[in-house]
C-alpha cells in the first residue's frame, strides 16, 4: 500500500468508528433509549439470592424468629462481626437469644453464618443503599422481635405444658402397657432431641423441622390467627 493508500485506509477506519458512535448517539438521542437505571427514581430489581447484612427470619407460625443462641454463626464468622448472647428463658425449655448484634461494616457477605445456622433462622436482608453520616454500622437483629418475645414465651410455655401433659398421659398409658423403666428412657430421648437444636452441627433440617413445629398442630391454630403483621420500618430512599 502506498502513501496515499495508507492515508485513505486510515481515514476510512476513522469514519467507521464515527459511524458506530453516531449510531449509538442516534439510538439515545432520536430513539430515546438509554441504558441508565435512574436510581433514586427507579429501584433495581434485586435477585432472590441478593446478599446484604444478615437478619433473622420471622416465621409465620410463631410470628418471631427461631434463634436459640447456639453461637454457631459467631464461631464461623471470618470477620468477627457477630456478637450474640442468650440462653435459658424462665418458664420454657427452649433457649432464646437475648442480644444479637452484627457489625455490617466488617461483614464480607460470605454467607457462612447462614450455612452454619442449625435452625435456619438467618437470611440476607435486601438493603442495598445504605449510607450514613455515622461510622457505626452495628445492627441489632433482635430489636424488631423484642415486643413479640413475651408473647412467644407465653405461647411456647403453653405448647410445652401441653406437650408435657400429653407426654405424661402417654407415659401413663405406656406404663400400663410396659414397664416404668422404658418410659424413663423415652423421656431421656426427648430431652436429648431438644438439646440437639443447641449444638453447632447442622442437622438435616429439611426433613426435620425445628422443635417448635414438631409439637402438636392443634395448639398452633389460635396462635396463627394472632400473628401480628410485620411492622418494619420502610427503607427510605434518599430524596434528591
Amino acid at each position: 500500500m502506498g502513501y496515499f493508500g495508507k492515508v485513505l485506509s486510515g481515514f476510512g477506519s476513522l469514519l467507521t468508528g464515527m459511524r458506530i458512535t453516531f449510531s449509538q448517539f442516534a439510538k439515545t438521542f432520536f430513539g430515546r433509549k438509554n441504558v441508565t437505571l435512574q436510581y433514586p427514581k427507579e429501584q433495581p430489581k434485586l435477585a432472590p439470592a441478593f446478599r446484604s447484612a444478615i437478619k433473622l427470619i420471622r416465621f409465620e407460625e410463631t410470628g418471631t424468629h427461631d434463634c436459640v443462641a447456639c453461637k454457631a454463626c459467631e464461631r464461623i464468622c471470618p470477620s468477627y462481626c457477630i456478637k450474640l448472647s442468650g440462653g435459658k428463658v424462665e418458664g420454657i425449655k427452649k433457649k432464646r437469644v437475648a442480644e444479637f448484634e452484627m457489625d455490617f461494616s466488617l461483614c464480607s457477605l460470605c454467607g457462612l453464618c447462614i450455612d452454619a445456622c442449625p435452625t435456619d433462622t438467618l437470611e440476607y436482608s435486601k438493603v442495598y443503599e445504605e449510607a450514613g453520616y455515622n461510622r457505626d454500622w452495628r445492627v441489632d437483629l433482635v430489636a424488631e422481635f423484642r415486643e413479640y418475645e413475651a408473647e412467644f414465651v407465653e405461647k411456647q410455655r403453653v405448647i410445652e405444658e401441653k406437650a408435657a401433659t400429653a407426654k405424661k398421659a402417654k407415659a401413663e398409658a405406656a406404663k400400663k402397657a410396659k414397664e416404668a423403666k422404658k418410659a424413663k428412657e423415652a423421656e431421656k430421648a426427648k430431652e436429648a432431641e431438644a438439646e440437639a437444636a443447641d449444638t453447632a452441627e447442622k442437622p438435616d433440617t429439611a426433613e426435620k423441622p425445628p422443635a417448635l413445629e414438631a409439637k402438636p398442630a392443634k395448639a398452633d391454630a389460635p396462635a396463627k390467627a394472632e400473628v401480628p403483621t410485620a411492622e418494619v420500618p420502610t427503607a427510605e430512599a434518599p430524596k434528591s
Binding site: 433514586p40 434485586l46 420471622r58 466488617l106 435456619d120 435486601k126 443503599e129 449510607a131 453520616y133
Partner: protein, 188 residues
C-alpha cells in the same frame, strides 16, 4: 415453614438511629435571625447549592470498591446525572475523595497527602467496610491495614457493604448533597 414476606422493606433496625442524625445549620437560630447575616446567607446557600451539585470526585481507586465506583460512573448508573461524573485525575481540581478500598499502612501517608493537596471545601466518602473500620481484613493483631479511613482524613459519608452496590454510592452522594446544602462552611 413459611416466611413472612416483607418484600424489599426488610430494613434492619440500627442500634444507633441514623435517620435521626441531625443535619443542623451551623449558623444557629440567633444568627439566622439577624437580617444582615441572612442576606449574606442567601449567597452562601447559593454557593452551597453549586457545591452540592458539582461534586467532582478524584480518580482514585484502592481496591475492590474502585470497580464499583467505576461502575457507578458508567452508563448503567451514571453518576453524571448528579453532576458528579467529572472524575478529575488531579487532586487540585477534585472536591470529593472517594476512598474506595482497603487502606494499607503503606498507602495511608499518600492518601493524607492527596487530601492535603485538594482545595477546600472538600469532602471524603468512605466506601466499603474496609474504609469504615477495616472490614473483612480486620482481625486481632493484624499488621497490614489502617482500620478506618477516618484515622487519616475526616470522612463525611460512610457507605457499608463489601463492596457496596453502585446504588449505595449514589445514595451516599445524595446524602453528601444534603449535608452540604445544610450550610457547612468553608473551614473544616
Amino acid at each position: 415453614m413459611g416466611k413472612v414476606d416483607k418484600g424489599d422493606l426488610g430494613r434492619f433496625l440500627p442500634l444507633v438511629d441514623r435517620s435521626a442524625t441531625p443535619v443542623v445549620d451551623p449558623r444557629g437560630a440567633e444568627v439566622a435571625a439577624d437580617p444582615a447575616v441572612v442576606r449574606l446567607a442567601i449567597l452562601d446557600d447559593l454557593l452551597n447549592m453549586g457545591r452540592a451539585n458539582s461534586l467532582w470526585p478524584l480518580t482514585f481507586g484502592l481496591a475492590c470498591c474502585a470497580m464499583e465506583m467505576m461502575a457507578a460512573g458508567a452508563s448503567k448508573y451514571d453518576l453524571d446525572r448528579f453532576g458528579a461524573g467529572v472524575f478529575r485525575p488531579s487532586a487540585r481540581q477534585a472536591d470529593v475523595m472517594i476512598l474506595a478500598g482497603t487502606i494499607s499502612k503503606k498507602m495511608a501517608p499518600v492518601i493524607r497527602q492527596l487530601w492535603d493537596q485538594m482545595p477546600g471545601p472538600k469532602w471524603a466518602i468512605a466506601m466499603g467496610g474496609c474504609t469504615i473500620d477495616g472490614g473483612p481484613f480486620k482481625y486481632p493483631n493484624q499488621y497490614a491495614i489502617v482500620e478506618g479511613a477516618d484515622k487519616i482524613v475526616p470522612v463525611d459519608i460512610y457507605i457499608p457493604g463489601c463492596p457496596p452496590r453502585p446504588e449505595a454510592l449514589i445514595a451516599g452522594f445524595l446524602q453528601l448533597k444534603e449535608k452540604i446544602k445544610a450550610g457547612r462552611k468553608f473551614n473544616r
